[in-house]
Amino acid sequence: MAGSDLAKYPFLNEAGQYLRESSFGWEELNRPDMKYIIDRAAERIEIGVDGKVYDNLERYEIEILTFLISLVIVKSIGIDQVLRKFALAEARRAEKFLTEDLRKQSEIKRRSIFTKIFEDLFKLKIAISEDQRLFKVRVVDYLARAAHFHEQEWKLINRLVYSGYVYLDADETVRIIRNELAVLIYDKVKAMTLPTLPQGMKSKADQLRVKLLSRYEQRGSVVVTDYPPCIKHALGVMNRGDNLPHSARVMLATYMLAIGKPIDEIVLMFENAPDFNEKITRYQVEHLAGMKGSHTKYSVPSCDKLRSENLCFATAECDNLINPIQFGRKKNKE
């Protein structure tokens, strides 16, 4: 793998290997010339957290270090939303490079980079179409990823499908692994043990934390005063003492959990239900919260899902929402 590839894809194992071979040590970050890289890393995080892609690209020695330092700073900031946004932005950055590479590289080269990244990291085999114009992935591999995209154009029926393969162009091929790239970077940071940071880096990380903390603290403490219409409807049914279907109860409980309502309060919301049993309700709410059973935390069902279950009572304010949880946030932003 060439140095220029490592600059674009610093999450590859080869980048780590380069660092080991160059016997990099954290104390080197105290050197004055490292300030440039630390500043660059901080800028990269800020831009990523703002939902944009940092598109500056330097030689690989700088890029690999910048990436590593940005991971360490994000870890040290310790705010999960920051990490998520950063991971997604990094995934989009890599996606951009991958797409460009695919469009311009010669056959053999692009095949090797692709095979490497897609198969090593995501166990996704891609091949070149018979006429060399497109890429193809197995239908099951495509479904496992793209079925979770919301846009209609990603539905299998709108794709070129033949003989067990879905045919995609460069942009589309890369798009289907964006989420996995983000998860990969997220997991990398999660699994990291934080080293003792050199002074220059520590003060940068602290500065950034203070800046971002105010933003996320504010968001975290938002009180949802106006529920989305589906939730209002479910609460109305519940308050009248009518029977609410199981799927609507799951929606109501997962929504309330997601906006941070205490379990005790959520349990009491169900007390008018004709079959209310506090013990059972508590178990079920705790189960949805991931405190019982398989410890899976359930998310709020998507608007698509609610529509299919006849639980959606959308109003004009719901425009473009994909999950009821966005309703409160959208309103509060205004």
Binding site: V140, V161, D169
Partner: protein
């Protein structure tokens, strides 16, 4: 079969026939792959509710239970679990699930259905001709007791089975040509009543989650096709459009199906524009394309395919709606469910029919117009399961 209106004598005759089957023909029951990881369930004659969350370590163990209990219906999960008997579902630890498709004859809207259908009152069992339209079903009132609910049963004819068979063949074509499944990964079963179940034995498919399965169902059934996929694009203004074919062409998948139907290719921009205009523009053409795709897709039950925790009728077991067996069809064309899936014995049984009926089973035709008759067990059980006859 609605046990609550069936006299206990009738139930005991059906049950005896089922028990005999499970005793004599246990070889007909297929041992599921990874049996120890499956959840099993069954129902009893004349009792509501299902006994489920069961597990069997071996086929022998299951055979013994079937002979002992002689259940009305037997089910096995399409899912594999680490702990199949645990409850609630999350505790079972899902490991994967076979991909299955359900083609139900009653969803195909066959024109012959009214000529061999009956309404059986679920309160008193009185049989009458069925209401003609679905809306009239809601206004059903039993002529004997005035009860408002009925079972609408049908004695599927060869045309009904041909309809389901055609649909199964159509599904096979999609699965082989587009989805790329191997022939031997596709197992087709007669459901035991009026349709086919298609089971896919393919490791890669077993890990698909409900959303992925739902997307696949959309593909097979022709739902959600965008006009843009075939080159018709909306402009920002009111309903006007322009033609721009996708860069990747129209050679495969639904793009090819529609292109062939409309007789267009990527050089036919003008022709496509004219076609869209003939239908009255973007929005009207969208309605037409939706309709076209649905007609050309396969009619499968989406709920069945997307449910990865379902317990599903087990191959080789009897269906209490008919007394026929869920039987593998090795050759869809030559398979005759009224012979190949009719596996009960032929001891003579006396019965009273509630309405004159005609049926053909195991190659013998029965035209019963008298109230009382003595016919072989396989035919007698069939009519009793349908609620059209009682033991005499």
């Amino acid at each position: 079969m609605k046990g609550n209106v069936i006299a206990s004598k009738t139930i005991s005759i059906i049950r005896r026939a089922f028990r005999e089957y499970y005793f004599n023909q246990s070889n007909a029951i297929e041992e599921p792959i990874k049996m120890e990881q499956r959840e099993f369930g069954y129902m009893h004659f004349g009792q509501a509710g299902m006994l489920r969350h069961l597990s069997f370590k071996s086929k022998k163990e299951l055979d013994a239970v079937l002979v002992r209990e002689a259940p009305s219906d037997v089910y096995c999960s399409n899912a594999y679990y680490r702990f199949p008997t645990q409850q609630p579902m999350q505790e079972k630890q899902w490991l994967g699930a076979d991909l299955i498709f359900d083609i139900d004859g009653k969803d195909l809207g066959m024109p012959c259905v009214p000529s061999h259908s009956y309404s059986v009152c679920i309160n008193c069992g009185y049989v009458s001709a069925p209401p003609e339209q679905d809306e009239e079903r809601s206004s059903y009132s039993c002529l004997s007791c005035g009860y408002k609910k009925a079972d609408h049963v049908s004695i599927p004819c060869s045309k009904c089975i041909d309809g389901s068979r055609k649909e199964a063949r159509h599904l096979m074509d999609f699965l082989l040509r587009d989805i790329g499944l191997e022939h031997n990964a596709i197992n087709i079963y007669f459901s035991g009543n009026n349709g086919f179940h298609v089971h896919i034995n393919d490791d890669a498919c077993s890990s698909l989650d409900p959303q992925a399965r739902s997307d696949l169902v959309g593909y097979l059934s022709g739902t959600g096709l965008m006009l843009e996929s075939v080159g018709v694009r909306k402009t920002n203004t009111d309903g006007s459009f322009y033609i721009k074919f996708p860069k990747s062409g129209l050679t495969y998948g639904w793009r090819r199906i529609i292109a062939e139907k409309l007789k267009i290719d990527i050089t036919s921009a003008v022709k496509l524009k004219n076609i869209v205009n003939q239908y009255g523009g973007y929005n009207s053409f969208k309605v037409e394309l939706d309709r076209l795709a649905r007609t050309m897709g396969v009619r499968i039950d989406p709920q069945v395919t997307t449910d990865v925790h379902r317990i599903f009728r087990m191959p080789g077991t009897l269906n209490s709606k008919s007394g026929l067996s869920k039987t593998k069809s090795r050759d869809l064309y030559s398979f005759d469910p009224f012979v190949d899936a009719c596996l009960l014995g032929d001891d003579k049984i006396s019965l009273r029919v509630k309405t004159p009926v005609k049926l053909k089973l195991k190659g013998s035709s029965f035209n019963i117009s008298n109230e009382s008759a003595e016919i072989p067990a396989y035919a007698a059980v069939y009519l009793m399961c349908k609620g059209l006859a009682e033991a005499d």
